[in-house]
């Protein structure tokens, strides 16, 4: 049988059926066995009675996105499957396993030409005491990808440890039933065995990675108001901040959460909150205050479909405009975007470092794809970015909180520091912080806040730049993984392509961007936004070559590597 480097598996079911549990166990087992893997969840808005899908991909190579098409779909039941069938693309080579007791597959699945096989998962589960059909589904998927051995049983024991040995036994028996039931099935290929390596690996979600990176960067206070899909950032931080000597406070709303972190940061504690689009909208006024009063804070925006309530559980990259341009007045600040689950750690840490160094607010644009994707990654290297602001000590009167220094950063007195008393103010102020409406003072402080950001040495971290071809794929955020894969495929076809993905979106660095574009004749912009916000942002700030194509669409359908590859290849002809 043909051997393949990767496989894509979807496990679906109605909300509460346990599709995500089964998917997470498969991810854990395959990761323990040594494969690279990731799981992206896609769910409806309901807590129970909706729909849920675990979209999985495994490979012998590192991966950072879902693939173009699914090789295997296991449906615990078909209830509500039509709500996300467009997100689970199938083809004639795909295998679909369903349970007749769980309804009929939706027309799109039938139309895809995929081979459809029935296994009575519900009945099989009934035959095992305390077993659930999702564990039968897990056994089927594990068998078909060749991952049904000891590592799966270990994963079960680890994940279900707190549920007791009876549950573990029942689950293991059910998985075994599934493995047996799928014994005669095959996908027409076999997943290549993973390379055995001693390197330390982690299983982590993007939202958890943001939290870890923030603590590594020095964050010790968070204020929280729950919002999908950002809540896991806050839920991970709540116990872990406490262990690290910090604290998380639940706020009454996002207006409070952002102001709480401004208050804490004024007191000298690096501080963060996490939200999604509607919450960011509420926070914008206070972000302007943090800009004017020069209080460092970090705001994580895990983007979802918008505007308004939009699609809370699904991804989009359409908060770029509000993050960059949403503030009233001229308000220079930082906007960053991580590029993968692993990069969430680095970018959150770097954002904390930059905010503290520059005494400015930083917005970090993650998204639901990245935030709610769990991935097996190599243990990320420790990096030296620890947020430390320039503090005023041993102050000789009169203290000038907003002194016009050469680099624009002025030493900040932390309450408790003698002779440092000043009033942080959103009103235009003098160097001493005293309110003023004089034109000269206004101009001087606007210049100061602009210059401190523009003069900073951001180093190479501002962007990922890969290759030197005359065609450039320019993208950002979670699409960087898909773009990299599309670029790799185009290179295999003989195209000369480079990848440019800015991690620092604001302030813009025109010189560095021009250097990154040096020799580029054609540009393909790739983004998950209906209004092509990133394309317009690029046009506003940088000189692009004459030939520019834009591959963009709103969420929640992720742009796949194959589409990017096709756009490059078709452009050639």
């Amino acid at each position: 049988m043909r051997e393949a480097a990767g496989i894509s598996v979807a496990i679906i079911g109605s909300g509460g059926a346990g599709a995500l549990t089964a998917g997470n166990l498969l991810l854990e087992a395959a990761s323990l066995a040594g494969w690279h893997g990731l799981l992206t969840r896609t769910v409806g808005p309901q807590i129970r009675g909706g729909e849920a899908a675990a979209l999985l991909r495994f490979s012998t190579e590192p991966i950072a996105c879902l693939s173009d098409q699914f090789d295997l779909l296991v449906a615990i039941d078909w209830a509500n499957a039509n709500r996300f069938d467009s997100e689970i693309r199938l083809g004639p080579s795909s295998l679909v396993v369903g349970d007749p007791a769980g309804g009929e597959p939706p027309p799109s699945v039938v139309k895809s030409g995929a081979r459809i096989v029935n296994i009575a998962m519900k009945n099989l589960a009934k035959a095992v005491a305390d077993a659930r059909p999702n564990m039968i589904a897990l056994g089927i998927a594990a068998r078909l990808m060749g991952c049904g051995g000891a590592t799966l049983m270990t994963a079960i024991e680890k994940q279900l440890a707190d549920k007791g040995t009876d549950t573990i036994r029942a689950s293991q028996s059910a998985i075994h039933c599934g493995i047996v039931a799928a014994a005669d099935l095959d996908l027409g290929f076999r997943l290549a065995a993973p390379e055995v390596s001693d390197a330390k690996r982690w299983l982590i979600s993007g939202n958890e990675a943001i939290g870890l990176g923030a603590i590594r960067g020095g964050i010790r206070f968070a204020a929280a108001y729950p919002i999908t899909p950002a809540t896991e950032v806050l839920e991970w931080l709540a116990p872990n901040l406490a262990r690290a000597g910090g604290v998380l406070l639940q706020a009454e709303d996002e207006l409070a959460s952002v102001n709480m972190i401004i208050g804490a940061s004024f007191g000298g504690t690096p501080s963060l909150t996490a939200t999604s689009g509607p919450g960011l909208s509420l926070m914008i006024e206070a972000l302007g205050l943090a800009t004017a009063a020069e209080i460092p804070i970090v705001v994580i925006d895990v983007m979802r479909g918008g505007p308004s309530t939009g699609i809370p559980t699904k991804s989009e990259q359409a908060d770029l405009n509000i993050a960059v341009y949403g503030f009233h007045g001229d308000a220079p600040h930082l906007v960053l975007a991580p590029q993968s689950v692993a990069d969430c750690i680095f970018t959150a840490q770097w954002a904390t470092y930059l905010a503290e160094s520059l005494q400015a607010p930083a917005i970090v644009l993650s998204d639901q794809f990245m935030g709610q994707t769990r991935a097996a990654i190599a243990r990320p290297a420790d990096v030296a970015f620890i947020g430390r602001r320039r503090e005023a000590r041993d102050i000789a009167a009169p203290y000038k909180r907003y002194a016009l220094s050469a680099d624009g950063v002025s030493a900040m007195a932390i309450p408790g520091t003698r002779a440092g008393q000043y009033t942080a103010d959103g009103l235009t102020h003098t160097e001493r912080g005293i309110p003023t409406s004089r034109a000269e003072d206004h101009g001087a402080q606007l210049d100061k806040r602009r210059d401190k950001l523009n003069q900073f040495a951001y180093g190479d971290h501002w962007a990922t730049i890969d290759g030197d071809g005359e065609i450039a794929v320019i993208t950002w955020g979670s699409l960087t993984g898909a773009a990299r894969e599309g670029v790799d495929r185009a290179r295999a076809d003989g195209l000369s392509v480079r990848l440019i993905a800015p991690r620092l979106l604001f302030p813009v660095l025109p010189e560095q961007f021009a250097a990154a574009l040096n020799g580029v004749e054609r540009v393909l912009v790739v983004e998950q936004s209906h209004g092509a916000q990133f394309h317009r942002y690029l046009r506003a700030h940088f000189e692009l070559p004459e030939e520019v194509h834009v591959l963009h669409r709103p969420g929640p359908l992720p742009i796949k590597p194959g589409e990017i590859h096709r756009a490059l290849v078709e452009w050639r002809s």
Partner: protein
Amino acid sequence: MSSVDTRLACKPSDYKSDVVPVWCPGCGDYHVLLSFTRAFAALGLPREQIAVISGIGCSSRIPAYTNCYGFHGVHGRSLALGAGLKVTRPDLTVVVASGDGDGYSIGGNHFLHACRRNIDMTYVVMDNRVYGMTKGQPSPTTEPDFDTALTPGGTGLSPFHPLVIALASGANFVARAFSGSPNETADILADAIRHPGFSFVEILSPCVTFRPDEREWKSMVHPAPVAETNDPARAARRLMTDDGFNIGVLYRGERKPYRPPFGHPSIDIAELEKEFEL
């Protein structure tokens, strides 16, 4: 209640900055500023250990007029600034200053939750029953027939009762003061600052520009006819018949302040990574 002890080394003037207030001549807030400085001096607090936090409005200008650390934030959010600061800096004395528009209208939700949260800080609302800085619109405490350009003929709405709401929401200390009696107000403020948990002090502070009728308040205020209580039910009953001009401490609760542990790590940061290891 003892009067302010002026024998302490700290003088009220030590707590006053050289910034000239923007307030109108005759504004009640001048006396509130005086009460602040007298209370701080009476408590002998180091200036750098005090943070005065405010929002937007005439009264919210007060931080810069003190010689303490200050924060003049956005409209209505001063309690959130104060909460974040106090939780992470329990060593500081945090006084949040607001007005009836800032504190009861745009900031109303934060008022409820600050009372409920009971963080150890003092919330002072200078109530003049009008938006002064935007020239005379009605606030939540304005009488229903107050005629303004924005609300011709008056709002027709009943005023909001801040002390009732503070008590019902869980404030641990509820008092009313009058700006025109700065010594008495300083006493109440010092008491409020000393009392653990969330202390709420409403200060009637006339706006002589847009509410010249409030000049009469000096003859309307009177000491509360009843002693303070630690029984919220009794305090609530008294408040329901309150004429709005009773001055003094009404309620002194015994609820434990909210003070989550901070600054005591139990592990190395590297330990946090362990849960992710395969």
